[in-house]
Symmetry: C2
Subunit: 332 residues, 2 copies
Amino acid sequence: MQIKHPYLLFLGEAADQLAAKTADGVARWRSEWCVGQLRLAGCCADVGLADLDLATAYGAGARTLVLGVANRGGIISPQWMSTLLEALDRGYDIASGLHTRLRQIPELAQRAEELGRELFDVRYPDLDLAVGNGERRGGKRLLTVGTDCSCGKMFTALAIEREMKARSMLADFRATGQTGILIAGGGISVDAVIADFIAGAAERLTPTADADHWDLIEGQGSLFHASYAGVSLGLLHGAQADALVMCHEPTRTHMRGLPDATLPSLTECIALNQQCGRLTNPSCRVIGISVNTAALVESEAGRVLQEIEDDTGLVAVDAYRNGAGRLVDALG
Amino acid sequence: MQIKHPYLLFLGEAADQLAAKTADGVARWRSEWCVGQLRLAGCCADVGLADLDLATAYGAGARTLVLGVANRGGIISPQWMSTLLEALDRGYDIASGLHTRLRQIPELAQRAEELGRELFDVRYPDLDLAVGNGERRGGKRLLTVGTDCSCGKMFTALAIEREMKARSMLADFRATGQTGILIAGGGISVDAVIADFIAGAAERLTPTADADHWDLIEGQGSLFHASYAGVSLGLLHGAQADALVMCHEPTRTHMRGLPDATLPSLTECIALNQQCGRLTNPSCRVIGISVNTAALVESEAGRVLQEIEDDTGLVAVDAYRNGAGRLVDALG
């Protein structure tokens, strides 16, 4: 899967900014790929790009219309159809991370087929995967892991990629979820592969590379999340990570979606991830903590970061507030 | 999925006894469901049942033809087609654990549809699964886990079920793999579900039950197998096991399919399974070791079992040679 850029980001009639968080992520991390945003009447989101129609954006180079909006049920809204069909007519491919597949809407599938356009349903890997083999590969790998779901694993991997590139290091973000795939232009939704192939998918996603090249791999879930830990473990084994960054949201009172489940301590989460990671890479170690302090005022955030550093003996940063520089330093 | 019994076991033209190991398992564990075997010319396997044709077996009560034979590629051989079509005509459903799906062979799918017969492709779960929620359920659960793949997890769970039933305990074997599903008449191939739903599949498979009821859950893979550990962890979390039985093959020199990977020690494998199992059931503990000593002479087997008991402080049995009585005792 290789999605062509530049992109035109489609925001539909997003009810609020959060509904456009996929477009937000793409605009934040790949602004150089985004020529504009396309909003329908009633759209309440804005990702800070020029409002362009399909024709103008195509003229400006856009080659893929990216559905950057989520709605209830993850459906392709009937109100979007005329825009999507016109996009195909004008020469665009379409990429979507929604639950409903573009390719299962006969009108879209047929038009794309006729015109030779591609429809990317990034939530659904359509690969013939192999089971993982655990064989060591060349190159270096960093995987973001977490105490819980949705605590900054994609953000952290992207922030590290940006920092490494700023230092002229060889680095590639490797996406394992919908938004990440749209940001990277490719990847594998590892939680959507057949269970036997989780580790194999991670191996495929991060192939052998030059000795000084870093893959920055987007983690998923948590070894301590009762719903998704299998995905996290398969990804950890397949990633063969040299370095792990532990992502953490310090104000959370229970595991996401599981009101009765408490969070693990950072110490036990670090220990278990290192232990399991060493099955496929004996030098696997947690090199730092990425703390999402968005819910805290700055002074409180600073205090929490210091406490975590004192408790773990590792670098702790909020990559959003402070960037990922100290995490990259910690690799040295 | 509920496969109707009695069964007629189809052995095709099995090249040797090993090629009929699925039929062997069904005949061993559910002889009361098996009215006979159906062998084609050239078949070199024999599972010890009467050789019956389709008409005679149907008269004797058989309602499902079970494809109990594996071949290269897991295909439905063209030479089987006339038998399979005749079976449908005569009133049989058909069940298969092969890679190729019965339902994807148009001639079979169409005939089954016309006649109202069922085709069971037990390797492919066709369920709308939910993600796991980790909520505690009533009843007791025992899961077989392992140091490696293919070391006796299905056999051990079935031997414990048999022992419990002999003691008039409430017990049900819960199948998670193809052969197990044919033996149980139902189940979920957990390694074939979408990765997000591994724990959810295990929860679905082992629903709430009476306080004195035991589910005996067939484990898969190993937390220490670089290819499949994600499946093992999701199953462990979803199973919410009160008791684990660690299955082990003491003569293995490397992990199955991974020539460079050594086996974990029993001690570390016990510790990690207990630690992870306690995420969803704080009282989860390994209650014994099931050792597959098939490769050893009896005196050597006895010595190995004693050594393992000394090292781990747990009951160690070969369930094939000695039955599962001491494992059931260890639950008390």
